[in-house]
Symmetry: C2
């Protein structure tokens, strides 16, 4: 017989929050939920939850609060600033699990704000999640949790375990905000690889490839990413339905990355390039649509940009160009993620472990990530991969540059934008030029990360 579960409040019953909250109900927790959207509260009641009409009503008398609103602004409002904010009734010593994706700087400020308002007793855990609505409802999310003291993590542990896959609950060292930093670095991969899926298949469309067959080829290639596989059905759907994750959602996370990077003086050229396309897509009215619809930023010119004449003739050669585009983008996406994680002081082994098992996964990350990490740590000889062989098969950076260059050349012939592919090529060229004066073995794939450090 299972132990009696304590009452829990749950603030924010959106696509992710609803699944998480109703999963807790199924696990036997008495869950009181709040959301600003009335119909959602009714659905929540039908699913066995108890609806509350304000945050303060929801959290009253409960030692556990999960907050899964969309933004830092919303978190600040429901927890502290609104008329019926949670802080008014939150019991002393309660734990608040802030699962929203927010800037590290925000959760650190939130902890100070709680203390300044006389509530240093609140046990704050920043524990953003990854995995999508399906895994939220199944209680098998990836969760990355940080806190200022172990008591908060200890108290929140049961709930965190209830919402996550046993192998995918990461306690992130570094105090409050460390979980958010981990999520932020993971989202570098997400931001780039959601768009690279659209860029690759948009390029394939201009090449005249059958998209279903091209996608099949990509899934079995080094161009694979979790995002590509996940978004594929909705990319191929003519209306990009159903809406599983709106473009505005990944844009919000992307802006956290670039804003935090700017504030710290760190360059994120790949994510920045992706973000501009996201902004441009808002201008086209695509914001509320599923992010799989971003392929339209590439395909709207099919058949109207001519006269064009590509060089690749066979389906095999064309698909190879698409895969080479993805390989170059994902290499740079992996390097940007790991370099940024290193910059903010995260444990790179944990970052890698998290990312390859979550939405940020890609074949390139799995292959080259460990060597990039060694290089960031200053371990191992220069160009080890190229000289001793490695999981990346000894391919050189010059080789991947040449193949990516051929893809960008072809995109130029077809007059199709490849925002990420062309950015990646310039970054790889920069890396090659920086190492040109050094020993030849410097041209291993992982040496690209030198551009970020």
């Amino acid at each position: 017989m299972s132990q009696q579960k304590p009452p829990v409040s749950f603030i924010g019953l959106g696509a992710m929050g609803f699944g998480m909250a109703t999963h807790l109900v199924k696990e036997g927790y008495p869950v009181t939920g709040f959301d600003v959207y009335g119909p959602t509260l009714e659905r929540f009641a039908q699913a066995g939850g108890k609806p509350a009409t304000t945050p303060s009503e929801a959290v009253a008398d409960k030692d556990y609060c999960v907050c899964m609103v969309a933004t830092a602004q919303q978190a600040q409002s429901v927890l502290l600033d609104s008329e019926n904010a949670a802080i008014q009734t939150l019991p002393r010593g309660a734990v608040v699990l802030l699962c929203s994706t927010v800037p590290c700087s925000y959760v650190q400020a939130l902890e100070k704000d709680l203390a300044a308002r006389g509530r240093p007793d609140v046990l704050l855990v920043d524990c953003p999640v990854s995995g999508g609505a399906g895994r939220a409802a199944a209680g098998t999310l990836s969760i990355m949790a940080g806190a200022s003291d172990d008591a908060a993590l200890e108290k929140g542990k049961d709930l965190l375990q209830a919402m996550s896959d046993p192998a995918k609950l990461y306690i992130v060292q570094g105090g409050i905000g460390a979980g958010s930093n981990m999520k932020m670095c993971h989202q570098v991969l997400a931001a780039n690889q959601i768009l690279s899926a659209g860029e690759a298949l948009g390029f394939a469309a201009h090449l005249g490839l059958d998209l279903n067959r091209a996608a099949e080829g990509i899934l079995g290639s080094d161009g694979w990413s979790w995002m590509f596989e996940n978004r594929l059905p909705r990319i191929l759907d003519a209306n990009h339905q159903p809406i599983a994750s709106a473009t505005t959602i990944i844009l919000k996370d992307t802006s956290i990355i670039t804003h935090e990077a700017r504030a710290a003086g760190f360059a994120t050229p790949m994510t920045t390039a992706a973000e501009q396309v996201y902004f441009a897509s808002l201008g086209r009215g695509y914001g509320p649509d599923d992010d799989a619809g971003l392929i339209r930023m590439y395909t709207e010119g099919v058949g109207r940009v001519g006269p064009v004449q590509g060089a690749a003739q066979t389906e095999h050669d064309k698909l190879a160009l698409v895969v080479d585009l993805l390989r170059g983008v994902h290499l740079c996406s992996a390097a940007e993620t790991l370099a940024f994680a290193h910059f903010v002081g995260l444990d790179l082994d944990q970052v890698f472990e998290l990312c390859i098992n979550a939405a940020g996964g890609s074949r390139m990350l799995s292959t080259v990530g460990p060597e990039i990490i060694r290089r960031l740590r200053g371990e191992g000889g220069a160009g080890r991969a190229a000289t001793e062989g490695s999981s990346s098969g000894g391919e050189s950076l010059s080789s991947i540059a040449a193949r990516l260059s051929a893809a960008v050349d072809e995109a130029q012939r077809l007059k199709v934008p490849v925002f990420l592919g062309s950015s990646a090529l310039n970054l790889i060229r920069q890396a090659l030029r920086r190492s040109a004066g050094k020993e030849g073995s410097e041209s291993s794939l992982q040496s690209v990360v030198g551009v970020w450090t």
Copy 2:
């Protein structure tokens, strides 16, 4: 009394060519013109020219041929490959002035091709022009001319002088193709600064500024560029009329830059970012429109990307953000131009002299260009500008980064893309990180060029 002028053939009577050819007519040259577009030939006859129906008919019995078609493909066709190509009747020892903007590699191949077809006697000059249709018709173009031997330049000199401003005829050392390299490097500025004009005023529109007043402020600021001033009336015109230079024209030149750079392994991150926006604009159907209409790539989201809330409140503060965006973009644009010119072996003093007096001019280039050149040559102490004062007023790279960062922050709040501004900021951040370990004085503005070298 003027000397009798020799007969000249003129192939390609487009917006530029028509003005150039009719100016030669006014100067007393007997000019036989060819163009594929019949009505243009009629206009040319009315202007005192003699129309020809094929290239071979045009060039027959004339020691001088000016070729001003749009692309290398067209040049190859009219000179060599078409049914009635010029080569069939071109007199022995004739000079061909190829004024089209084409890749250096093309004119070098053309010279070899002429020899291979038994015509090593043809005196080939590659002499692309800059200055727009107005200066073409006035005979005051900037012209940059290269050739394999001095006889070609000597024979073509009178015609080159007739078409150019006396102070703006540049004989470019380096043999055949050197003129094209010079034009290519100049077009780095053109490609970036045509788009930066639209990016700046698009940003201004999202900021809620009156565009006429904002433009006035920019014209008197360090954000000034020749392109901004030249495109301004057509940017402000609701229909971006009249069509003075189609988007496809600058895209053609942009693609020459990035293609030649890729082939040489040189990174051109600014021009590459601009090119992707040009390609995206083709997809929107803007290709045939004047390039001033590129502002639509930024303004189409005005009022529909919300909810947004900027930080800048006053007109003064908002305009400062726009100017800071332009300063950052034009600094990186200047660095990319000069670094690429250095890479292809051009005389940097001549490049600078040409660019500040042609369509590539910008206040930032005028101010920082000489220090960038000293740095590229390895002259002068590191950070001379910052420590000893200079024409850039001792402003540091960190300072320009902070101001550009504030502009990009604001663009993020307003959810408007700033493709060039965000690229420039990442490049400046890269430069700052590279020099972080070195002496503090390294943070002079010109040190940004280190990213390209």
